[in-house]
């Protein structure tokens, strides 16, 4: 898992090409989720799958070494390891989902009441819809990505 000797050039090239496509697809799924197939959960799992692909093909430390340009951190021994960062992603997501729900209370509605705004005559788009549920969905996305990647990282490091 942590070695990158036994993956073929084909696999590594395909991973390089496919990774951004998957991530863009995931983001598209996240944003269109309210009206078309998609949503925070699917987008989150897809993103995690993309990073999982990098883990499988290039090894665990590649992400930190090559992409973030810092020495790889063994999980839990380091204060600022990558699992910490995944962990704060989870925290942020939970706070976003719950906090967004709590905003409704300030307006006198029940917890987690969601609203939708429609903007007419937006260039290119015509009618444009913004749902407060998107904030909630973003929270779901962050939690799912953070949690799955944490699991992948620590289980992979084992």
């Amino acid at each position: 898992m942590t070695t990158d000797h036994d993956t073929t050039v084909i696999a590594r090239t395909v991973a390089r090409v496919v990774f951004p496509i998957i991530v863009v697809t995931a983001i598209a799924l996240l944003l269109q989720g309210h009206n078309l197939p998609g949503g925070g959960f699917i987008a989150g799992t897809l993103t995690a799958a993309a990073v999982g692909l990098v883990y499988v093909i290039y090894g665990l430390d590649h992400l930190e070494q090559e992409l973030l340009g810092r020495p790889p951190s063994v999980p839990f021994t380091d204060e600022a390891g990558i699992t910490r960062e995944y962990g704060s992603l989870v925290t942020t997501g939970l706070a976003l989902a719950a906090g967004g729900g709590a905003v409704a209370i300030l307006f006198g509605d029940a917890f987690l009441t969601q609203a939708v705004w429609f903007f007419e005559h937006v260039p290119v788009y015509g009618e444009f819809e913004v749902a407060s549920a998107l904030a909630f969905d973003l929270g779901v996305y962050a939690v799912v990505v953070g949690a799955l990647l944490t699991i992948l990282a620590v289980v992979g490091a084992e």
Binding site: G40, I42, V140, V144
Partner: protein, 812 residues
């Protein structure tokens, strides 16, 4: 005056927000986080002060569909606990700034302490049984973390013990609450069956509730259950054993949680429930419990060899006094009940003032003299003159010597027990006797504590330095408070009444039946009456016995060390039994398959039993036609499932299992559910990856199974399958809570409400506004469920990290 909703909400929310900010703030301002926390506490104190004199309930809708709302209630008792939690909080945080100077784990310490303060304020103002319970358990959790602050062996033992006793006590209380709720459902004048205080609540119709409880035969069970909860929290005999061990916590924590506030939650509950449940059974239970606790723990305090241990037992003893006070009432004579309530209410205040002071003094001694052993201390007044002065006021208050503050509340107790005995006669005469007997020991240990500062100074002690002002100021302020209460009695004798009397009167009224007024007043007695005589006997016998203190102590120690009389005898015996019995290793034997079996089997059994108990009938379903593609998918899925059982290795098994998963995904596509299909596909892939990652860690456990194992596993699989199928059938068939005009159909409700209506403005809130019904269900209609689910996901990640981290550190 009605309370202001925003202010009371802010009081409860501020400490939690502060706690959340501590970890970040600590990186910036370091040690000074103590003063930030003190500022938060001061803000809460100021906000509560603006509500002084208010009475009434406020309510914020939380989940109206389930009739859940956050209701808070303000009255005298709530304000008292609120003032104690925030006011003592200010002093404790300031003191911590000096005391915790070189200690580890400060961000955790301050965050937990702040969260504790929020939970305590929540208990004080909660008007709803569920909210009360949640805050109640939160204080137990905070206490657990703080007792285990130093993470050593004894600290862990103490933390576990306190968690075990107080949390399980809380669970008894929860059952009591649920019984109350169940009875309240049938009482017409109770509008919201979880509401404890305020309009349309249980307390507002206490008489009807009491009649209903008696008719259902639930009065005694509810009393006992709530009594256990209160006794566990307030360290009443025989559940007092956790409190002395809790002294493992840093001293400011002991002063805050284990004397001034958290242990007061139990007596607060007794005081709060008093108008609702006060009956003859109530008197029998709480008057006895309180007096027995007061006496036994006062004797244990005399046996103590450590100053914090002495204070811990003494705290339990004084809480016993408060419980006894609240316990005393009489259906025939309202005056006795009034005296009882006055004892409880006044002593909550007095005890917080003198005991928190003494704990802080103990902290100073431990910090500066380097020892807490009573034997090694003495003559400290030369080096610590100010601290000695503080201790004189506080310790004499604790001893009940006039004119210090504890004297007055003890007078009320003596008066109440005497009146009750004079009224009912017979065995009730034991109450005043026990009260005096226990008070003698209180006098003894109080004087012993005071004598740490006088008499001869041991050679080894050396010169003791004065602590910094951040450690001297808080106990000084508290002692001044205690002194003022004491002075109030003198001025009242002269005819000038301090406003404290008005305030305590309001606290007393919280524990009296609705409509009764308390004109509270206290003063130095000027005529000889039975209670005065009782106080006189206490002080005189105490003074005569004090020279023989060491002999008395050794005698009590000898009795204490006799087998079953040892305070921890039953706790250590029970926990040892749990460690050594035969059942444990059967259930958790370290094999994953055993855990899975117990877990799945237990869940299925509970769920199926629930269905049987509710006598549900499995709904019929029709309209299912199997097309050819669908048929092929299902057949392949079944073949895949069957093939898993025969797979020769783990890898092959996992790969075969994924056939099943992908077939389910195709099934979703055929059923026009692209969202589900997408999710299923991605999850299947991820699961495959994770499986392959862990698979080489598993033993090659294939083949060679015995017949009974196969039968057992087959039965378990069947049970799980049945449970899942029945659950799916039942949960998709009926929709509780959907109005009948929607045809009781979940489907049509979602189809109608999810997309934006054809005619709509630029802002809509009452429908989902999205065409993807699945997503709208997840993020809008059922957002609360989703919130729960992502919490579970986060929790799962957390536990995996913890497990693997523990394994790497070699703990498991």
């Amino acid at each position: 005056m009605q309370p202001t909703a925003g202010i009371i909400l802010a009081v409860v929310a501020l400490p939690f927000l502060g706690a959340a900010a501590v970890p970040l703030l600590y990186r910036v301002i370091g040690e000074r986080t103590a003063y930030f926390a003190a500022a938060v506490a001061a803000a809460c104190f100021a906000l509560i002060a603006t509500q002084f004199g208010a009475e009434g309930a406020i309510s914020v809708r939380w989940i109206p569909a389930l009739d859940v709302s956050l209701s808070l209630y303000v009255d005298g008792l709530a304000l008292l606990i609120g003032f104690l939690a925030s006011g003592v909080g200010v002093l404790i945080f300031t003191y911590s700034g000096g005391y915790m100077h070189n200690e580890p784990g400060k961000p955790r310490y301050y965050a937990t302490l702040l969260a504790f303060m929020g939970a305590m304020l929540g208990i004080a103002f909660a008007a709803d049984l569920i909210a009360l319970f949640v805050f109640w358990e939160l204080t137990s959790v905070a206490s657990f973390i703080l007792i285990g602050h130093y993470r050593d062996e004894s600290g862990q033992y103490a933390a576990r013990k306190s968690m075990f006793v107080t949390v399980s006590g809380g669970l008894f209380m929860l059952i009591g609450f649920l019984l109350l709720h169940w009875v309240a459902l049938d009482v017409a004048s109770v509008e919201s069956a979880f509401r404890l205080a305020g309009e349309g609540s249980m307390l507002a119709s206490a008489d009807a509730m009491q009649t209903a409880l008696r008719e259902q035969g639930l009065l005694v069970p509810v009393l006992l259950l709530i009594g256990i909860g209160a006794a566990a929290k307030s360290a009443q005999v025989p559940l007092h054993i956790w409190l002395p061990d809790a002294m493992e916590a840093p001293t400011p924590v002991s002063a805050f949680l284990h004397s001034a506030t958290m242990v007061k939650a139990g007596v607060y509950l007794v005081g709060r429930m008093r108008p609702l449940l006060v009956t003859d059974e109530w008197v029998l239970l709480f008057a006895l419990l309180g007096l027995v606790t007061m006496t036994i723990t006062a004797m244990l305090a005399v046996t103590a060899s450590d100053i914090k241990e002495l204070l811990a037992y003494s705290t339990a003893s004084h809480l016993g006094l408060i419980v006894a006070g609240y316990g005393i009432a009489s259906s025939a004579d309202a005056h006795i009940g009034l005296l009882g309530a006055e004892t409880g209410a006044f002593h909550v205040l007095n005890h917080a003032l003198f005991k928190a002071t003494l704990f802080l003094v103990a902290g100073i001694i431990a910090h500066e003299a380097g020892t807490r052993a009573i034997e090694e201390l003495g003559g400290l007044s030369d080096d610590l003159p100010l601290t000695a002065g503080i201790t004189v006021v506080a310790a004499l208050g604790m001893a009940g010597v006039p004119p210090f503050n504890g004297f007055y509340s003890k007078e009320f107790l003596f008066d109440a027990t005497y009146e009750l005995a004079a009224h009912d006669g017979g065995l009730w005469w034991l109450l005043p006797v026990v009260a005096v007997f226990g008070s003698i020991f209180t006098f003894l240990y109080s004087i012993r504590f005071l004598m740490l500062f006088f008499g001869e100074k041991p050679e080894e002690l050396g010169h003791v330095h004065e602590p910094p002002w951040s450690m001297r100021g808080p106990p000084l302020l508290l002692a001044v408070g205690a002194g003022i209460v004491g002075l109030g009695g003198i001025t009242a004798t002269a005819g000038f009444h301090l406003p404290i009397e008005e305030f305590v009167g309001r606290i007393v009224e919280s524990s009296l039946p609705a409509g009764e007024e308390a004109h509270f007043s206290y003063h130095i007695p000027t005529t000889l009456s039975p209670p005065v005589l009782m106080s006189g006997v206490t002080v005189a016998v105490g003074a005569v016995a004090y020279p023989f203190y060491d002999g008395i102590r050794d005698g009590l120690r000898a009795v204490r060390d006799l087998g079953p009389l040892r305070p921890n005898w039953y706790y250590n015996g029970a926990t040892a039994l749990m460690d050594t019995n035969e059942i444990g290793p059967q259930i958790h034997n370290g094999l994953l398959r055993t855990y899975a079996l117990w877990f799945l089997g237990g869940t299925s059994a509970l769920a199926l039993a629930g269905y049987v108990a509710a006598t549900v009938s499995i709904p019929t379903f029709s309209g299912l036609t199997v097309t050819i593609p669908l048929g092929i998918v299902l057949v392949v899925a079944i073949i895949g499932a069957a093939a898993v059982t025969g797979a020769p290795s783990h890898v092959a098994g996992v790969l075969t299992l994924s056939i099943l998963g992908f077939m389910v995904a195709i099934f979703y596509i055929l059923a026009d559910a692209p969202d589900l299909a997408l999710t299923q596909l991605v999850i299947e892939t991820l699961v495959l990856v994770i499986f392959l990652l862990v698979i080489d860690k598993l033993p090659a456990f294939y083949g060679g199974s015995k017949r009974w194992m196969l039968v057992r596993d087959g039965a378990a699989s069947l049970a799980v399958g049945t449970t899942v199928m029945v659950t799916v059938l039942l949960s998709t068939a009926r929709t509780p809570g959907v109005p009948s005009y929607l045809d009781h159909s979940l489907k049509s409700f979602f189809i109608e409400r999810a997309p934006p209506p054809p005619e709509h403005g630029s802002f809509i809130i009452d429908s989902g506004g999205g065409h993807n019904i699945v997503n709208v269900i997840l993020v809008d209609f059922r957002a609360f469920d989703t919130l729960g689910e992502i919490s579970v996901v986060a929790m799962a990640a957390l536990s995996i990290v913890t497990l693997i981290a523990m394994q790497q550190r070699g703990e498991i």
